[in-house]
């Protein structure tokens, strides 16, 4: 995972972000970038430190509701909303992480799953705040950020892309840093890392908190973009979707999150018009990728680069 920063992956992702609104609907491109941000939280956890979380949808949902309530009820600006959404995601992840990062393997996975389910039912229980199954409506649709109007689909895309790029570069920087090397060591052999004197729990908690913040940001972006928080933002299916995107894209590089989001969103868009049970086809694709391309789609670039003896695609 550790490597140089910025690298070829950085350039490829930036190039794709520039091209996307010209080759597809801007709202679709925005959705891809938002889900790529959410998927980054899974990639950071699974790729950098080896923690498989089924609960990132919980932090995304919390970020969405927090941001939406600030925008609608407290007339906050989008930047304030997004920052607080990140902080809310981080705070919840810190609190839950303190309880669960000591657990390993399947126990950690099941605890994240349980908390994700609790989040969904809390959303239903507090429907006076969240809107319940109807979602949270009535958000403003026009904003000003640093004096610039955010009204058109393109302006929302630019806002979303800037937020994604900042997080993407931070995650790249983190994984390429000495801290990233420690996280990788924990991922490879937690016991030995502990024996070497690293406070493993603190490192895992820090990664879990950072991932919560990133997911919270994705939720906030979704709320700002839609002018609405759909209940699906906090459903278990959202956690699954982020995980599937991460695995499809490949968790070996932050760019895999972007590749996974692009692939999943475009393929689901195309397949859903062909067959109502399109998720079954996504499942088949996931099986094929796990079996035949365990490094995910992003590893194709690395394979090609390896075959040609170059370093292109290195994440």
């Amino acid at each position: 995972m550790a490597g140089r920063f910025p690298n070829v992956a950085t350039l490829l992702v930036v190039a794709a972000l520039v091209v996307m609104p010209f080759v597809m609907h801007t709202t679709l491109a925005t959705q891809i970038v938002i889900f790529a941000t959410g998927t980054l939280s899974v990639t950071l956890l699974l790729g950098a430190v080896g923690l498989l979380s089924f609960g990132q949808g919980l932090f995304l949902g919390l970020g969405a509701y927090t941001c939406a309530i600030l925008l609608r009820d407290h007339q906050a600006g989008p930047l304030t909303g997004l920052v607080v959404a990140m902080l809310a995601g981080a705070a919840l992840a810190l609190a839950l992480g303190a309880l669960i990062v000591r657990r390993r393997g399947v126990y950690f996975v099941m605890l994240t799953l349980a908390f994700a389910q609790m989040g969904y039912f809390a959303m239903l229980a507090f429907k006076g705040v969240t809107g319940g199954e109807n979602g949270l409506t009535g958000l403003p649709r026009t904003f000003r950020v640093l004096g610039l109007p955010i009204e058109s689909p393109l302006s929302f895309y630019v806002l979303t892309t800037v937020a994604f790029l900042i997080v993407f570069l931070l995650v790249q920087r983190l994984t390429a840093s000495p801290l990233g090397s420690v996280l990788a060591a924990i991922r490879e052999n937690e016991g030995r890392s502990e024996a070497l004197g690293y406070p493993v729990v603190r490192y895992k908690l820090a990664a879990f908190t950072a991932a919560g913040a990133i997911a919270g940001l994705a939720g906030g972006l979704h709320a700002v973009f839609l002018g609405f928080v759909p209940p699906s933002d906090i459903e278990l299916e959202m956690s699954q979707r982020l995980l599937i995107m991460a695995i499809i894209g490949g968790v070996g590089s932050p760019a895999g999150a972007f590749a996974g989001s692009v692939f999943y969103t475009l393929v689901s868009e195309a397949l859903s018009e062909i067959w109502a049970r399109w998720l079954a086809l996504i499942a088949l694709l996931l099986i094929a990728i796990v079996l035949f391309l365990p490094g995910g789609l992003w590893s194709i670039g690395r394979l090609v680069a390896g075959r040609w003896g170059g370093r292109a695609g290195h994440g």
Binding site: T27, T137, R141, P153, L226, P230, S232, A276
Partner: protein, 401 residues
């Protein structure tokens, strides 16, 4: 030898003559009006969305044009996700300039799309059932064809209470979404008014498929009537599981909101027999508008129309009738034309109430019949009552915000 000037004049004239027909054709050509339809072709309610989509598409095809414009049907598949519905509506309204929108597969989607279309200056005709649609969340841009939950409950629960005055203990199983909650709160009001004992309620979520726990709880409360307050396949599953638990023996079952024929077909006469259903449309009710829908559906499927076909047809019909009356595609003119409009709809003469944009029409209480009593393969139920029970406009909470 032809002179150069004469040649140029002749050539120019010839070119003009040759070019004229397409130019004239273009001048006379109808402009195209895109109508976007928001339906779930996958997800929990895919079967409902698919049939509704057929109905709307067939209506657009049958009318062909409106207000002098050729109609073009643009399907937006929301995959059962309100967020996806909002995104796709944003996409077509901001990037394609579409202002005319119909359809929704459930009330949560209808509510979200209703706000989006209004915020972007469009017009939206939908088939959501929740009271909020023409109640506190109503707006100038939105119209609703089916009855509200208030009407569904007052057209089914009330007649059933009158028919069985001894049945005092009612239990409800409710979908925990806006539509289910609306049905439940209206039921509670009628129970209170009529002195009915509400012995319990079980909520299920949108994703539930298995209801035996809820039914066991209902059985233990020993109700006289089980009222099912949900929608789509979930209604079918609750009824099927309640019947398989033997609930029909001692308890009357009422599905306050059913989609009629397609659900009766899914249940079969063995499950329908003796069960009461509320329904917005029944093919057996004869009317000029109903016959027109029947002809179109007969051409397409070779069979009679079900509620979903009729409902999908109706929302497109309301919009097209409005455009025709306005003689324009301008949204404020269509809204003005629709307010107070009467037309021949699938259930007979239907009227758009100006105060809350609710279409006033009959709602049916139906009783499922035994297989031996069916006159043909679609004769699953009899109409027990046809009622227009609408909340007075000043009680709806609609302020046209």
């Amino acid at each position: 030898m032809i002179e150069r000037r004469r040649f140029l004049t002749s050539a120019t004239a010839a070119a003009a003559v040759l070019a004229a027909p397409p130019l004239i054709r273009r001048a006379n050509a109808q402009s195209v009006l895109d109508i976007a339809a928001v339906y779930s072709l996958s997800g929990t309610f895919a079967n409902v969305g698919s049939a509704l989509n057929d109905g709307s598409k067939w209506a657009v095809e049958a009318y062909g044009s409106a207000g002098g414009n050729k109609l073009n049907y643009v399907l937006l598949d929301d995959r059962g996700d309100a967020g996806e519905a909002v995104r796709k509506v944003q996409e077509v309204m901001t990037q394609h300039g579409i202002k005319h929108v119909v359809g929704c597969t459930n009330s949560a989607i209808g509510l979200a799309v209703q706000k989006e279309v209004h915020a972007r200056g469009g017009i939206y005709v939908n088939e959501a059932g929740a009271d909020e649609i023409t109640g506190k969340d109503c707006n100038r841009s939105s119209f609703r064809w089916p009855v509200a939950c208030y009407s569904a409950v007052n057209s089914t629960v009330r007649p059933l209470i009158d028919k069985f005055p001894q049945a005092k203990r009612w239990y409800t199983i409710t979908g925990q979404y806006v539509f289910g909650d609306s049905l439940l709160s209206n039921c509670k009001q009628v129970f209170q008014e009529k002195g009915i004992q509400h012995v319990g309620n079980s909520y299920h979520s949108l994703s539930d498929r298995e209801y035996s726990g809820y039914i066991a709880t209902a059985l233990s409360a020993a109700p006289d009537v089980l009222a099912v307050c949900n929608f789509g396949n979930q209604t079918v599953d609750v009824i099927r599981q309640a019947v398989s638990y033997g609930m029909k023996r001692n308890t009357k079952i009422l599905a306050v909101w059913s989609t009629g024929l397609d659900q009766y077909q899914a249940l079969g006469p063995e499950n329908c027999d003796g069960v009461y259903f509320g329904c917005n449309f029944w093919h057996g009710v004869d009317s000029p508008g109903g016959r027109r829908v029947a002809e179109i559906v007969k051409q397409k499927t070779g069979d009679v129309p079900n509620y979903l076909h009729a409902c999908g047809y109706a929302v497109a019909q309301v919009l097209i009738e409005g455009i025709n009356k306005a003689g324009s595609t301008d949204v404020p003119k269509i809204i003005g034309a629709l307010e107070g409009l009467s037309y021949e709809g699938p259930t007979g003469t239907e009227t758009v109430r100006p105060q809350d944009h609710q279409v006033l029409k009959d709602y049916y209480l139906m009783l499922g019949k035994a297989k031996g009593a069916m006159k043909d393969k679609n004769d699953f139920a009899d109409v027990v009552a046809a009622t227009k029970a609408f909340l007075p406009p000043d009680k709806t909470g609609c302020t046209m915000g």
